[in-house]
């Protein structure tokens, strides 16, 4: 890794010590979605664009398509809201009792009741540099493939087996920007099933993009440095 990349990674992302170009700089966490990825374009992204740090926790035996999810999220958030989804870590936890989550409800905000199992799940992956954590599990016994309700002090969401290529981004939208459902099938927040989204990649409205950019956890490199 060149000194210039290392310097940018340290200054903009706070990366010190052993740094992987692929994971920590390029944000590639898995092999399931091969793409041509330009280091130069990534340097410009890191230096110039807003970003949100996200952690990824897979409960062992869940089978997510992590890179597909990250790339599709960036096809929406980076392209339309000017907020790059930056994966800080991806870990796997052996917690079979959390694979199928017992969850009281999937309500937003203060109406949400946190079950003991949800409390246990959302304790995982904390204090590792990401404000928002996505948990890959099987489901919550409702046939749904995602839910963004979370304990009030630990932001995150889960994605389940059977999730579509837009589920991850949809649930992220509920958390970052507090986006609400819409009946428009062209939009990310379509309530009729993300597998029924038409005209992909789905849209964010200007107001939704503003809400995402205005999230408290969205950061930006302090020194603008275009190469």
């Amino acid at each position: 890794m060149s000194g210039r990349i290392r310097e940018t990674a340290e200054r903009c992302l706070g990366l010190v010590g052993t740094v992987s170009l692929r994971q920590h700089v390029m944000g590639v966490m898995a092999d399931d979605n091969p793409r041509n990825r330009s280091t130069l374009a990534q340097m410009r992204r890191i230096q110039n664009r807003r970003f949100i740090r996200i952690g990824l926790v897979t409960i062992e035996t869940a089978t997510p398509l992590i890179q597909r999810d990250l790339d599709n999220a960036n096809d929406v958030f980076d392209s339309q809201a000017d907020v790059w989804v930056y994966p800080v870590f991806s870990i796997t936890e052996d917690e079979p009792e959390l694979l199928n989550l017992t969850q009281d409800d999937c309500l937003a905000g203060s109406s949400h009741s946190v079950s003991n199992e949800e409390d246990d799940l959302f304790n995982l992956g904390r204090d590792q540099g990401a404000d928002v954590v996505c948990y890959y599990i099987n489901g919550n016994g409702t046939g749904a493939f995602g839910c963004a309700s979370h304990p009030s002090d630990r932001r995150g969401y889960w994605c389940g087996a059977g999730a579509s290529r837009w589920t991850f981004a949809h649930e992220l939208g509920h958390v970052v920007g507090d986006l609400r459902h819409t009946s428009s099938s062209n939009r990310l927040m379509f309530s009729g099933g993300t597998n029924n989204i038409t005209n992909p990649p789905p849209n964010l409205t200007n107001d939704e993009a503003d809400d995402v950019r205005g999230d408290d956890a969205v950061e930006r490199c302090e020194v603008i440095h275009v190469t």
Binding site: D105, G141, G143, G146, S191, G193
Partner: protein, 156 residues
């Protein structure tokens, strides 16, 4: 999906996002419950994922129709459906759900047994407690035994 049900119910059955569940529970009326229970029983007009959601919906809405729809020994195609059945039946808080939950507690899948253990926690009566004791001491999966121990603790 061909079911003639309320809009919020249809939205939940079609959606992958669990945030559509509570509006569907709110919007579920007697006709919806009858139609959905029939669809679960006959496996008609719903695909396998929609059946899982239908089971969950009746359970979360506390509709006793779920007991008849599943029968005393639920024969469900998918693990997710069996987990939804255990979860849904537990939310009825009705002793009539006990035979089906006990049947699910003998499932091959440890994940289904775990869901059944959670369901047994909330049901009154000695039969449920006896089954929890059996599982706590003899289930082959350690995490299911641990869950049964915890559930026994919450019953006392």
């Amino acid at each position: 999906m061909l079911l003639d049900v309320s809009e919020t119910v249809r939205r939940f059955l079609e959606s992958d996002c669990a945030h559509t569940l509570e509006p569907a529970v709110e919007g579920l009326d007697d006709d919806d419950a009858r139609i959905i229970a029939t669809a679960i029983r006959t496996r008609g007009d719903l695909d396998s994922v929609e059946i899982t959601r239908a089971i969950a919906l009746l359970g979360r809405a506390g509709r006793i129709e779920l007991v008849d729809a599943l029968g005393e020994s639920p024969e469900l195609e998918l693990e997710d459906q069996r987990i939804a059945a255990a979860d849904g039946l537990s939310r009825l808080g009705d002793i009539r759900a006990l035979p089906a939950i006990i049947a699910l507690s003998r499932a091959e899948s440890a994940q289904v047994r775990q869901a059944a253990v959670h369901a047994l926690r909330g049901l009154p009566g000695a039969a449920g407690e006896a089954r929890l004791n059996e599982i706590a001491s003899a289930d082959p999966a350690p995490f299911v035994r641990r869950k049964a121990m915890r559930m026994l603790g919450t019953r006392r």
